[in-house]
Symmetry: C2
Subunit: 419 residues, 2 copies
């Protein structure tokens, strides 16, 4: 019996559900919870709902999705109806804000390629209309932490089969669960304590980086020579954050990153994307990009290039950076040796940048800055946000302070700063 087989998956799943509810979202007695999940991960979502009621939740409103319905719409709806968003959709989301509620979203599609190859213009049209409709939730609920929220993953057969070559059906799903449970430390009996410790270490790392007062970050390696500029107001964040109501929560499980908001105008150079990622349901592979004066001016990919082109052309901010994040190769996601084709996991395997919308919470007093003040410091606003992994064991990361001092942050993909 090897170690993996010895894992008591049921017990780990119960612990994972408790982790999501108690540490990830930190559901409080009397709070309402919005729980979003793929219909293919209902079994685990039920465990999360049970854990939430046990924590004293007032109500768990469950929103089950199946992307095949979106595929049907994108394929078959008349063009003129693609902008339609039902009235109750924003009301449902805003209810979480007004109730000072909480949100958990379980990612992991029943079929990761289900939206692949659809008309990119039609996809963007739907996405933009939806984004506009739920803007208040993202600005206030997420952006101002009016709600506690946590995004975590749940295995499905379809997702597992897209990752493993040698395993199918329920066996593949169990294999993926074993990986996920280990990555989120739910294989450890002291899982909740381990997350307190891990979250504290990410907060310490952020604080140390903030003391450096970095002006820009240099990424270098094969195919990569990229400068990402920061504003003097940029603050690194990592681990748990605190809601407006004062409840600590961990927005992503797993999270291995420290991240901040760049000054988009200062992005310069070439970069090689080290892991595939999804755009509007299509996998983009072997992407290389060139930024000039902050704008993505050129790129090529071995697949998904046209989908990406349509995406970055959908909105002015989609060719500008909205995030830079640092992750070392000690990350359990990197250590697993797998590419998950799911950004929640993959962004926690490597350093990454994102095109699209930036986080106000990563700027000093950012949520209180006016639109003009944000523009002045190169804050990028966009309906898009897509992370792209840019490090591996061949990439070094250097920080340059406002005083011009160089500080080595990562070497060969591994943290050296703060060790």
């Amino acid at each position: 019996m090897n170690e993996e087989r010895a894992m008591d998956i049921e017990a780990c799943l119960d612990r994972y559900a408790e982790l999501i509810v108690r540490k990830g979202c930190n559901v409080q007695p009397g709070q309402s919870l919005y729980l979003g999940a793929d219909s293919f991960s209902c079994d685990f979502a039920v465990k999360v709902a049970e854990a939430a009621y046990e924590a004293g939740a007032r109500y768990v409103q469950v929103d089950l999705v199946d992307e095949r319905f979106q595929r049907a719409r994108l394929n078959l709806s008349q063009e003129k109806f693609l902008d339609h968003v039902p009235r109750h959709v924003p009301i449902r989301m805003d209810e979480a804000i007004d109730d000072q509620g909480a949100m958990i979203r379980l990612v992991g599609s029943g079929d990761p390629e289900v939206l692949s190859g659809l008309d990119a213009e039609r996809s963007n049209r739907c996405r933009l209309a939806h984004h506009k409709a739920v803007k208040r939730f993202f600005d206030e609920g997420i952006g101002r932490s009016m709600v506690q929220w946590c995004v975590a993953s749940a295995a499905t057969i379809g997702w597992a089969e897209s990752i493993f070559d040698d395993s199918r059906g329920e066996e593949a799903c169990q294999q993926l669960w074993r990986l996920l449970l280990k990555i989120v430390r739910a294989d450890r009996e002291d899982c909740l304590q381990a997350w307190d410790d891990h979250s504290a270490s990410l907060a310490l790392r952020s604080a140390a980086l903030n003391q450096l007062e970095l002006d820009h970050i240099l990424f270098s390696g094969p195919g990569t020579d990229l400068t990402v500029g920061l504003s003097p107001k940029a603050r690194f964040e990592g681990g748990s954050i605190r809601s407006q109501r004062g409840n600590e929560f961990i927005p992503n499980l797993p999270t291995e990153e420290v991240f901040t908001t760049p000054d988009w105008r200062k992005t310069q150079g070439d970069v090689r994307v080290t892991r595939p990622f999804l755009v509007n349901g299509t996998l983009v592979k072997d992407l290389r990009m060139t930024f000039r004066d902050g704008v993505l001016v050129n790129f090529e990919a071995s697949s998904g290039q046209e989908t990406l082109r349509s995406y970055v052309d959908s909105d002015e901010g989609a060719r500008r950076l909205g995030e830079v994040a640092l992750v070392g190769i000690d990350s359990p996601v990197y250590q697993s040796g797998h590419v998950f084709r799911e950004i929640l996991l993959d962004e926690n395997a490597a350093c990454h940048i994102a095109v699209g919308n930036a986080y106000k919470s990563c700027l000093d007093d950012g949520v209180n800055l006016s639109k003009e003040q944000l523009e002045e410091i190169g804050f990028n606003a966009s309906s898009a946000h897509t992370d792209m992994m840019i490090s591996d064991e061949e990439v070094d990361v250097m920080g340059v302070t406002s005083g011009g001092k160089e500080v080595e942050l990562l070497h060969g993909g591994a943290w050296v700063f703060g060790k």
Copy 2:
């Protein structure tokens, strides 16, 4: 190869989805559709959504349910939170009215016994709060036919295994699909035409019954000697109906019944329920009931008795009749030889009565009658509505006209009137 195996199930499923959309709900170009389904019947729900977009639907809002979340709530929520209904729930339903939309609900649970054995008081508390919240939708959307709506069934493995003793898993599900597809005539290439014809024949039967001007109906057979009184305003209905907007639709697929609203005060006698049925998720078997002066005064069942007691005590109207319906043994549901433990099917196997809320649409100008006028004619109002099948091949049904003339309607469970 036998006939059943020869059925091309995929082709029949496509035809069934089209039947539901085009005839059942009659979705119009530009209409929004609310599509409710169990998460276990997503595969078929996707076909329905595709058929709706092909019919020109503006938007299909999909509401996937999994009763395990309700079980978690009923088992684990604090008592004081059981009344809570999120604000968006009625808004979501009312949007269908305000948009002059349409609704399709696919029944067939992933596990028909999932809510069995839960605390009946807690179940009723949830049910009553929900009923109150969505009252406008049921009064106006359904009661006044402001929306077109259709309830149809979809097979799931769990449901199939609860019906068949000798078949499990996907095989059982396919076996159930073959039965359902035959019952809804989707095994016939002329399925849509067949439903036009069938619906017309139910309308003719209703019209013929209405011409009799029945005062009451007598059910007699082993254990049954029941009088169900009607008001002079009672009208039989059957087959398709017309929405306020003028679109014809068939509210149930299948439908084999002609039905009307009784004067609840005139119910007298004993009745044997011939098929098991579910109340709050618990199966009630071998029920015998006694009505005196319109009120259910005594009953016993071999199982589910306490659940039923709590249900009929939850609301004054739950011990009074709200419906009487006539179905002959030529019904494809009866002919299938199966009990489906799903009321949409089972109520179309036999004559039935329902305790609980009555239909205003089955009264002459009923939707325009005041509460007082309705009370005067013995219209029953309730938050409950549960159908109970009361005929088989040993039951005869006699109509007695306002002039005192006896007319034999069914003999040995089979229609003789109108033949």
